[in-house]
């Protein structure tokens, strides 16, 4: 027996008491298997034989040039577009269509201008007939995205960055297991973009969400992702699978470690995208 005066050592990997709930990510496991997509036969496939897995709680970036099919790939994971071949499996269930369990955030916030901020944020719960839950859940998610005081404002009165935060709150309200981001910060100014990148990563990490983000910005991928899939074009396929080895403190930029990871990813991306000027 140990000394009763000394506190028991805490094993952070496993809970000491097996009856206590295990602190595990709320995010789901995503498996993409043999995914192909063709819009028109004459144009050939947009995506060919895409296969990868995303672990629960992992943040994955899909990095590629315009037209490489990365957005189409994300649409297929969300169920908004069905693949020509292959399948997407989330926690063992094949994706057959959109669901509040895997929610997508788009480039434009596309808030409904006839609704208040709170009504916009509650939309997913309203569609799921869970309006009673919205009373507590909506203030919770608005606080999470730092918009707690703007619940009753009309969506049109907000800035671009605030609107995108409402879109994030709207995506988080139904408690999704997977959050899919389709270049959601590309229309924002650099300062707002940087703040949102940090906040979204922090929120996703705290909630343990599985997240996939489509981007063509190497800096964004380094700041946000645990792992980056670099996509080749015509047809779109995975050229490289790069694991980021940055601490959260280094992700804000300006450190040597950040610069090293940025350069490493930029070189990989440039080689795949055949960009000659890597400056």
């Amino acid at each position: 027996m140990g000394d009763p005066m000394m506190p028991e050592p805490i094993d952070r990997r496993r809970p000491a008491d097996p009856t206590l709930p295990t602190p595990r990510p709320t995010g789901a496991h995503v498996s993409v298997r043999g995914l192909c997509h063709t819009y028109r036969k004459a144009d050939g496939p947009v995506l060919q034989d895409i296969g990868f897995a995303v672990e629960p709680g992992e943040i994955l970036a899909l990095l590629g040039r315009s037209g490489c099919g990365k957005s189409t790939l994300l649409h297929m994971v969300s169920g908004l577009t069905m693949p020509t071949a292959g399948e997407v499996v989330i926690n063992g269930n094949a994706v057959r269509g959109p669901s509040p369990r895997w929610v997508m955030m788009f480039q434009a916030p596309s808030l409904y201008p006839w609704m208040t901020v709170a009504q916009n944020a509650a939309l997913g719960l309203r569609f799921a007939r869970r309006m009673h839950a919205a009373k507590t859940r909506v203030p919770e998610v608005l606080d999470l995205v730092d918009l707690g005081g703007l619940a009753d404002r009309n969506a049109q009165e907000l800035s671009g960055g605030q609107q995108q935060r409402v879109a994030l709150a709207r995506s988080l309200a139904p408690k999704p297991e997977v959050l899919l981001l389709d270049e959601p910060f590309s229309a924002l100014d650099a300062f707002t973009r940087r703040n949102l990148q940090q906040d979204v990563r922090r929120i996703a990490r705290n909630l343990g969400l599985t997240m996939m983000i489509v981007t063509h910005d190497v800096g964004e991928a380094v700041r946000m992702a645990d792992r980056v899939l670099v996509l080749d074009a015509n047809p779109g396929r995975i050229a490289h699978d790069v694991t980021m080895t940055l601490s959260d403190a280094d992700r804000n930029g300006g450190t040597e470690a950040f610069q090293r990871e940025h350069t490493r990813l930029m070189q990989t991306y440039s080689a795949v995208a055949q960009i000659t000027d890597t400056a």
Binding site: P100, F106, S110, P113, F127, Q156
Partner: protein
């Protein structure tokens, strides 16, 4: 003198600012009354037309007051409002869903475009003989004519509104798990509410115009019947008073719809 000094020196009318709209409206009504009075005065002086002198403001407004006090105004307006209301309700019930369908389904829009544009250009009153034959009651025939007049503006305004919906709004709703019921009542209808009401406002204008000649049909009630009856009995003061009633009710209905449009309009000009 500099331009700035010129602006400063210009006399301003601060008291007019708040009441300018109201004062201009009063001025407009005053001008209309003056023209009416002038017309009446000229008719009274003309030996060929003096029999129509009761059209002047004095006799008309006196008769109008008598009709209000006696309750005649309510009696003659109620059947007309019922017919317009029923015709408009039918036009909304058919125009809005069909407008949504042709706005949402391109192939349906292409198929219906020529037939609908063709039918739209036929004067509603052209259907009068068919309406009389098709319906057992005069009321039914009049409601049908009002429906024919009112359905097109509602249908086309709804379809145009639907085509202007941001496709991203539909994608976002689908992404969040909206079913077709949600899509219609939470996204589509609020998004096009202003277009629908603008269509109804246009339809009401046409329906109100069609009402009077439609009520020349065999009915024995309503504003159109009262006009016809006053003409036949040479009661020009009553005829003039009925014209005023038609104008006032039409104006009031239009103003109510304008207020409804303002209420549902979600576009913030200051945003």
């Amino acid at each position: 003198m500099s331009a700035a000094a010129d602006v400063i020196a210009r006399p301003s009318l601060p008291a007019l600012g708040r009441f300018r709209g109201l004062m201009n409206a009063v001025l407009g009504i005053g001008l209309l009354l003056a023209l009416w009075w002038l017309g009446g005065w000229m008719i009274a002086r003309d030996p060929d037309l003096f029999a129509f002198a009761s059209f002047a403001p004095g006799p008309t407004l006196t008769r109008l007051w008598e009709m209000i006090v006696a309750g005649e105004v309510v009696g003659m307006s109620t059947p007309s409002l019922y017919r317009v209301g029923m015709g408009l309700a039918l036009a909304i019930a058919i125009g809005v869903p069909v407008g949504i369908l042709i706005g949402r389904i391109p192939v349906l829009r292409e198929i219906t475009n020529v037939p609908f544009q063709f039918l739209r250009m036929i004067s509603p009153l052209s259907w009068m003989p068919i309406a009389v034959m098709a319906y057992d009651t005069w009321d039914g025939a009049i409601i049908f004519l009002i429906f024919v007049a009112a359905v097109w503006p509602i249908l086309f305004a709804t379809a145009a509104g639907l085509r202007r919906i941001d496709p991203a709004w539909l994608k976002v709703a689908r992404n969040l798990g909206a079913n077709p019921f949600h899509m219609l009542f939470v996204v589509i209808l609020p998004a096009i509410s202003v277009d629908i009401l603008t269509g109804i406002r246009l339809a009401l204008g046409v329906a109100w115009v069609v009402l009077v000649p439609a009520e020349y049909l065999g009915v024995t009630s309503g504003l159109g019947y009262s006009i016809n009856d006053a003409r036949d009995t040479l009661d020009y003061a009553s005829l003039g008073a009925t014209v005023v009633i038609i104008g006032v009710i039409g104006f009031a209905l239009d103003a109510a719809l304008m207020a409804a449009i303002k209420h549902v309009n979600w576009v913030r000009s200051d945003a």
